[in-house]
């Protein structure tokens, strides 16, 4: 897509949004929004610009965040290492999503995770704490203490029927997953769906008591992200999720209202361990698709691409 086309799309988006907001009733607005935008937006460029462009391709942040709403952003920031290792989301991507949420008029935005490695060092070295603080102080946290979590049932679960969820997540109007694209020795890849494991207190039962694949899908029936912005500015192609591994640099960001589709496109777009794979070869994606959580059949989905 060239610059002109890109501007056209953006203009169309603005007009559409304007019409939807001013003229149509809420129900019609929702239908119009769901039908008017491509399923997936892929933008290539510098991390922040690509994140903004990818979200704009699928309707812009106002499609997802309404004024006054509570938003939780879930990046990967639980490893005490810098962006070059590709184990954490790029701080610029997180920052841009945060800015977009505030531009859309969000009432409150939180950037939350539950670290595996040293929480303070992870915040610091990932660069995400500084990036968030430059926008709004005090909203980026590793929630390690049980007081921030509340027990909740997962009504549509087949395996994991309850867990302790971050209270902020249970109370959120909008959840935005902003994972880095990386391989995962157990699950194949760790993207938007898998990343939601950072929003509960006891993720270990998902390994020990249940099938990891089934419980990832269970978890997402409860806290499925409303928007997935996958940071493929760098892709940890091998050795994930903790590295060290081979880091590819596609310089892309993939956005979708359907996290299954976003994950599926990410799987199909890049090489994992030197080879290409289909989304169905990641078993929890196949399961999520089968259980109706989203679509992994990207060949049937509308994908819009742009380069900045």
């Amino acid at each position: 897509m060239d610059r002109r086309n890109f501007l056209k799309w953006q203009a169309a988006g603005l007009v559409c949004a304007g019409v939807a907001f001013n003229r149509l009733g809420p129900a019609a607005r929702a239908i119009a929004a769901e039908t008017a935008w491509p399923d997936l937006g892929v933008a290539k460029g510098a991390p922040a610009a690509a994140a903004r462009a990818a979200v704009n391709l699928i309707g812009g942040m106002p499609r997802f965040v309404k004024p006054g709403q509570k938003v939780v952003i879930k990046p990967n920031m639980s490893f005490a290492m810098g962006p070059e290792q590709a184990t954490n989301t790029h701080p610029e991507v997180v920052r841009e999503v945060l800015i977009m949420c505030r531009e859309a008029g969000a009432g409150s935005v939180r950037v939350l995770d539950h670290a595996l490695q040293n929480p303070g060092l992870s915040l610091e070295r990932s660069g995400i704490l500084d990036a968030c603080n430059s926008v709004q102080r005090g909203i980026c946290h590793q929630l390690m203490d049980g007081q921030f979590y509340a027990e909740a049932a997962i009504p549509q679960a087949v395996a994991m029927r309850n867990n302790l969820f971050m209270k902020d997540v249970l109370e959120a109007d909008v959840i935005i997953a902003v994972p880095v694209a990386k391989s995962h020795g157990g699950a194949g890849v760790s993207l938007a769906l898998k990343g939601q494991m950072g929003l509960i207190l006891d993720r270990w039962v998902m390994h020990s008591r249940y099938s990891l694949d089934a419980s990832i899908v269970d978890l997402n029936t409860k806290i499925k992200p409303h928007l997935a912005v996958i940071d493929a500015s760098r892709v940890l192609s091998t050795g994930g999720p903790g590295g060290p591994g081979k880091v590819l640099t596609p310089g892309e960001v993939i956005a979708s209202a359907d996290p299954v589709a976003a994950d599926a496109l990410t799987v199909a777009s890049y090489e994992w361990y030197g080879l290409k794979y289909e989304p169905r070869q990641v078993s929890y994606l196949r399961l999520a698709h089968e259980r109706g959580l989203g679509r992994m059949d990207i060949e049937n989905l509308a994908i819009q691409r742009t380069t900045i």
């Binding site: 020795g185 390994h207 060290p244």
Partner: protein
């Protein structure tokens, strides 16, 4: 207000209380700075521990080495020859805690509760015999003086018992305040996420019992510990018997007020004789003397004899020392390889070889206080009898952080060497091993790679053999530091991967990098490896990469 009282200069007794309180506050301030995140305070955080007048000389015996870190304790000893037991009266935080505890107890139970007692030589001999026994154990090189060294003891009390209780109270307080903070404006959002994580330690009931007794005995006699039991007090008492700066009686009306009020009961009933080895120089006697006839000066008009019978007889001294030697023999025999289990435990990074380590470790708890993960814990039975209360790493509680060398920085006796981070990185603690019969991947065929996920060194490889449905973890020993991240996070209840001290480096000199490289170790954290050059890759051979399916 009483104008006359106000115009009076502060009495020496008050001055002692003020200095004592300041010393205690400084002790607390330094303990507070015994955390990794704090900027280095102007004074070394372990300053008080190095002041211990018992540990300093006995470490010379047990360590068989000159420890420059401990010179302040020797300086205290030297100064005592001149000025008496000023350390006990003005500086020692144990003594200060006892004094302030007694003031509190008096408030609670009335002034009659604590009677000063008499200059009773019989009971006071105990501390000298304890000193002789501990010196006896130290002579062949066995460190049992941690039972009597007052500063490590009191540091352990505050750092491992009081501090965790305060944290717990703050944690619970924050939880109670939570709803209140949640209602605050977005400008104060950071407050909603204040987290004070509780810490805890093994052996707290021992500390509770020991100090409960020490403080409770204040009801029976003031400074019970100091006058009857403290071997450091005994040593300082021996040094202060001829000190020039001591209690001198210039004028006396035989009223006996000084004898009645002396907190150490170091004055004879007539007020003229002084047990100089017992006197703390607090000058309470000078403050109450109706004729202002008492001075702490090099010379006095009325001859004040040392109270004669405060010391045990020579044969009792020798007997106690002999018992000490016997106990040390028993400890040494118990510490033979195969009987002691300290070497079979995980010690802090940079710990000396086990025997050297035990000779030096003061059991002060500084390393445990500062350990950011709370993984360093006092041994109970875990390190065998010779290793009682010494620090062990319990990874299940908390791993050894790759970028932390705090324990060595605060170890007063350098049982844990002070290593720069670049050197500490090579101070391998042990090696992780997978217990195949418990591992979720190996035993149950489940998708679990948590150990690989959390390993900061990239030492856990995943291997998906052709016959296996799921990738399974394999530890690369040369990459494994033994930090325990895998053991900490293993989702199995009794962890299926655990660190053993196999391959641990315990050196007498800080030459860890050289030794580690000689042993073929490759201990570079993932965060510092060049990302685009994975130097191992077990995946290959046409199968699927870990986690993918057909």
């Amino acid at each position: 207000m009483n104008g006359r009282k106000n115009s009076r200069p502060p009495s020496p007794f008050r001055r002692q209380r003020i200095i004592q309180a300041l010393s205690l506050l400084l002790f607390f301030w330094l303990l507070r700075h015994m955390v990794v995140t704090a900027a280095e305070p102007a004074l070394p955080p372990d300053l008080f521990l190095r002041l211990d007048p018992l540990a300093a000389p006995l470490l010379l015996l047990t360590a068989r080495d000159w420890l420059p870190e401990m010179w302040p304790g020797l300086a205290v000893l030297g100064a005592t020859f001149l000025a008496g037991r000023f350390f006990c009266g003005y500086i020692c935080p144990f003594g200060g805690s006892l004094d302030f505890c007694r003031i509190l107890l008096r408030k609670l139970f009335g002034t009659a509760a604590t009677r000063p007692g008499k200059l009773d030589p019989a009971g006071r001999k105990i501390k000298y015999l304890l000193l002789a026994a501990l010196a006896g154990t130290a002579l062949p090189g066995v460190n049992l003086f941690y039972w009597g060294a007052p500063l490590p003891l009191i540091a352990r009390f505050y750092a491992l018992l009081i501090h965790p209780l305060l944290l717990l109270a703050s944690n619970q307080g924050l939880a109670l305040l939570g709803p209140l903070l949640a209602g605050m404006s977005e400008n104060w959002v950071g407050l909603q996420y204040l987290q004070i994580l509780p810490r805890g330690y093994h052996g707290l009931f021992f500390l509770l019992g020991f100090f409960g007794l020490a403080f409770g005995l204040e009801l029976f006699r003031p400074r019970f510990w100091c006058r009857y039991l403290c071997p450091a007090g005994a040593l300082l008492g021996l040094c202060s018997r001829r000190s020039p700066l001591r209690r001198r009686v210039q004028e006396c009306v035989n009223c006996g007020k000084c004898a009645a009020i002396c907190p150490m009961s170091a004055i004879s009933q007539d007020g003229r004789q002084t047990g100089h080895g017992e006197c703390l120089g607090c000058r309470t006697c000078a403050a109450v003397c109706p004729v202002k006839g008492i001075a702490f000066s090099p010379a006095g008009r009325i001859k004040s004899a040392n109270s004669p019978a405060a010391l045990p007889e020579r044969r009792a001294f020798l007997g106690a020392a002999g018992v000490g030697v016997l106990v040390s023999g028993a400890t040494l025999a118990r510490a033979l390889p195969g009987l002691a289990s300290g070497a079979e435990c995980l010690r802090p990074p940079g710990s000396l070889p086990e025997n050297e380590f035990l000779r030096r470790c003061l059991r002060c708890g500084a390393c445990m206080k500062i350990c950011p993960s709370n993984g360093l814990q006092p041994a109970w039975a875990g390190a065998g009898l010779p290793g009682l209360f010494s620090p062990l790493l319990l990874p299940r509680r908390g791993p050894c952080e790759p970028d932390c060398n705090a324990c060595g920085r605060v170890c007063p006796s350098q049982a844990i060497l002070r290593l720069p981070l670049a050197e500490k990185r090579w101070a391998k603690l042990g090696t992780a091993a997978v217990k195949a019969e418990r591992c979720l991947a190996l035993a149950e065929g489940k998708r679990c790679v948590v150990c690989q996920e959390v390993c900061p060194y990239g030492a856990v490889k995943l291997v998906q053999a052709s016959g296996q449905g799921v990738p399974v973890p394999v530890v690369a020993a040369e990459r494994c530091f033994g930090c325990g991240y895998c053991e900490k996070h293993c989702p199995v209840q009794a962890p299926a991967i655990a660190v053993y001290p196999a391959g641990a480096l315990r050196l007498e000199r800080p030459d860890y990098e050289m030794a580690a490289r000689a042993a073929g170790l490759d201990l570079v954290p993932v965060s510092e490896r060049r990302p685009d050059a994975p130097d191992y890759d077990d995946f290959g051979g046409g199968g699927l990469p870990p986690g993918f399916t057909d």
